[in-house]
Symmetry: C2
Subunit: 282 residues, 2 copies
């Protein structure tokens, strides 16, 4: 019997950087479920329409994708893997178009702003904002507007039959996006021999030194904090939730002690997942 | 001789919530300098085109305005005051328009999304995204498109001669935006008897427990941390800058000891300002 392909929800059009992340995480034998908005992708996984979701969580130039931190709290899903994708932008045209004929360049505003040196070197090109990077390739290939190009991933070019005229036109090569792979809560825990990470969210009691005491739960056990992110608590102005990533595995006794200690000094504590740490790229 | 009015740069059109913040901070006898983008407002103050700038820094529903944290680091300016403004959205029309005649509602997408209950109760109304809340009032008053209304502050209605048809249509009343008042670095320090806050930015040495040791500089002196925000460091993927607000005055000896201690365990430390703490609203 043929094995059913894993259905992977992601935000954006086919060829989005999230699709690259999905392939890095799960290989090419997957069935993709493009979603218009981030929330739809969480809902598709929760409701069973998808088996997994690929969620951008932070970018090395722009910082965290805060909306997705909020969804991690509001949906009961589980982080089972992470990966990072280098963001490479390419100038893509319908095959046969010469560079001299390009007048308008369509892409998501963030992508356009990451190629400012390219636009400075070619002042005749007019930036045109579009809702999505891969979607801009889809549009120019479908509608063939005169003098139009798009900025997107090489995967988007391949998906829609576009041709890369200029590769890697981004200003900053240290541009990576980190993605989480989410599954439903009953998905088994990875027993990895590689270094693992734990992600969690907690709130402190509202008293002086409370964040310090919470971090002590890790620091006193030499557990390495990799990231901390604060988000506002809805309905409680000027109070915050904290999201932490640290190195360790939830099966390690010292991690279990740290979690018990953190629970003792927190109002709310939820482990969002334990997963193999991706090699940091830089 | 008539005293020259303080020129205050802010982002948005006249009637923006930032203008309300400017009036709360400096009174009505000010000259306003509207700027299209946040960076222009920092530059106007740095270059002397403005005497002050009013900067939104966090919202209780959406979190921090991360771009402005980055500008605080990149420009050498000084936080001299803070305030918070309750975000009240109103349905505004050209005078004489009846509610039954309203078909399209223009505003910034964030404002439209903060009035979803109102739209659910009136499904005939079509949401139309616009670049700015106050700008949407300016537009409907100038162009008078048939059946158009805008969502914005009461100040925007007053500025452009619009009429408030429905007041306070926002979903969540616990919606506040906190603003900083910035001046150039030679502006004198406030000698306030009220409780003060200090804002600073630092980076830790990249070793386990480094954030914990940095927070110890405050916690060991019973200094109350009010907020912590992390931002990515450009050019150093997966490393972070931390922005802290704590209660205290830079003239207090224990704050001076804490800052010396923090400097000892940081790679970079810069005090962004010391200013009277606004009453927290909630």
């Amino acid at each position: 019997m043929k094995k059913k392909k894993t259905i992977v929800a992601f935000q954006g059009e086919r060829g989005a950087f999230s699709e690259l992340a999905a392939v890095q995480l799960l290989g090419e034998k997957i069935q993709l479920l493009p979603c218009e908005r981030f929330e739809q992708m969480f809902r598709a996984l929760q409701d069973g329409a998808a088996d997994a979701a690929v969620v951008p969580i932070e970018n090395t130039l722009h910082g965290s994708v805060h909306e997705n931190y909020d969804h991690l709290l509001n949906f009961n899903l589980k982080i089972v893997a992470e990966t990072s994708v280098r963001i490479v932008h390419n100038l893509i045209v319908p095959p046969g178009t010469r560079f001299a004929g390009v007048k308008h360049v369509y892409s998501h505003p963030v992508a356009l702003n990451q190629c400012l040196k390219f636009f400075a070197a070619h002042p005749r090109l007019e930036k045109k904002t579009f809702y999505d990077t891969a979607g801009s390739v889809k549009m120019i290939m479908a509608e063939l507007p005169a003098g139009a190009a798009a900025i997107a991933s090489s995967l988007a070019a391949a998906n829609y039959g576009g041709q890369i005229l200029k590769a890697s036109i981004e200003d900053d090569r240290k541009n990576f996006t980190r993605f989480f792979l989410l599954r439903r809560p009953d998905f088994p825990l990875a027993k990895s021999k590689a270094p693992s990470k734990v992600s969690l969210v907690f709130t402190t009691k509202n008293s002086p030194g409370s964040l310090f005491r919470a971090l002590a739960a890790l620091a006193l056990r030499d557990i390495s904090l990799v990231k901390i992110e604060s988000r506002p608590m809805r309905g409680r102005p000027w109070e915050y939730l904290f999201y932490l990533d640290f190195l360790g595995h939830v099966d390690d006794p010292h991690v279990q002690h740290a979690l018990a200690h953190l629970d003792e000094v927190s109002d709310l504590l939820r482990v969002l997942g334990c997963y193999p740490a991706a090699e940091p790229e830089s």
